[in-house]
């Protein structure tokens, strides 16, 4: 069989593997640099936030999606458009709170953890915590303060991976003093 036949057949898949592997290298490095998992989680969240505040621009420019009317619509856009666009997966939106200010994203397959096994001595590490930061940062840029955290993770033996998102408040646009 010639090599040509297989050439770039899976280039899209490969590209997500590049991301997965790079993320893995980052987490490995963080685990070396910090003494405890809490610090690593915090750092991942921070880096995610930095990514989120930039990613939102890319997202808005490319998806031509306007302002969301309510949190339900936000949830749909995140799950069906954003996750699909950037991670190639569509989480389901469930567990709405009665007030409609809290919901869960259930990730059936989390591309960040494709080749990952957590060693026993890292049981408080939230491996994909970057995602929380990304979501928080991106939503902050569209005037929504949201609390994002992992409540279940398949890496730690749960059946599904669940990200819980809670709407805190709408951020008022503060014009700098003296600005029109």
């Amino acid at each position: 069989m010639s090599r040509q036949s297989n050439r770039t057949a899976d280039s899209k898949k490969m590209n997500s593997e590049l991301f997965t592997l790079t993320y893995g290298a980052l987490v490995t490095q963080l685990c070396k640099d910090y003494e405890n998992d809490e610090e690593v989680n915090k750092q991942l969240d921070k880096m995610g936030y930095n990514i989120g505040v930039r990613l939102i621009e890319d997202f808005l420019a490319r998806s031509s999606i306007g302002r969301c009317q309510d949190f339900r619509e936000t949830a749909d856009v995140i799950a069906k458009v954003a996750f699909k666009m950037y991670l190639g997966t569509t989480p389901s939106v469930t567990n709405w709170s009665p007030a409609g200010d809290e919901f869960s994203l259930i990730l059936e397959n989390n591309p960040l953890v494709d080749f990952v096994e957590l060693p026993d001595n890292h049981n408080t590490l939230i491996y994909s915590n970057l995602l929380c930061g990304v979501l928080r940062g991106a939503l902050e840029m569209v005037q929504m303060a949201v609390d994002v955290r992992f409540v279940q993770d398949t890496l730690r033996g749960d059946n599904v991976t669940e990200i819980r998102m809670k709407f805190i408040k709408r951020i008022e646009e503060n014009l700098p003093a003296g600005d029109e």
């Binding site: 297989n6 050439r7 590209n15 991301f19 790079t22 699909k84 190639g88």
Partner: protein, 158 residues
């Protein structure tokens, strides 16, 4: 449909993190570059392992280099290397006229001093890839005008 934006943003954060994590940027510069390079190395190893699992055995070193220039580069950067040169004594120069990780940075000499940071990971990527194909090497990069970039691969004889 995996997108390339996440990788680019992640790569930027990686650089930010690595260069911020030390107090004295001047003396630590070399070590930071090494760290980035090592991360790239590990990723390159993993990628090549997954890419070549169904491919035929390579004929020789040049065949391996061609694979890196075509398939590997296309997979990572969505384009091929523009020019491959060799002196047939173990030195290869891979030229990319529009290197993806620099193309949004500048088109000219602005920010040239920052270029090494943005290339270290890729150098590691290539070295790791080659290493898993049985070729031990040293990979360096140079930029004279962004976003063009030259990677020099020096094969270490085993």
């Amino acid at each position: 449909m995996a997108d390339e934006a996440p990788f680019q943003f992640l790569h930027n954060e990686l650089i930010q993190y690595i260069s911020k994590s030390t107090e004295n940027p001047e003396t630590e510069h070399g070590r930071n570059i090494t760290k980035l390079e090592n991360m790239g190395f590990r990723v390159g190893q993993g990628l090549i392992e997954r890419m070549t699992k169904d491919t035929a055995r390579f004929k020789d070193e040049l065949d391996v280099m061609k694979f890196i220039c075509k398939d590997f580069w296309t997979c990572v950067f969505k384009k091929q290397i523009d020019n491959l040169r060799t002196n047939h004594q173990g030195i290869y120069v891979l030229q990319d006229n529009k290197f993806r990780l620099l193309s949004q940075l500048s088109a000219g000499k602005q920010y040239l001093e920052l270029a090494p940071k943005y290339l270290a990971f890729t150098c590691g990527l290539v070295r790791g890839g080659l290493s898993n194909l049985g070729v031990k090497s040293i990979v360096t990069a140079e930029v004279s005008i962004m976003p063009a970039c030259k990677f020099q691969v020096m094969i270490q004889k085993m």
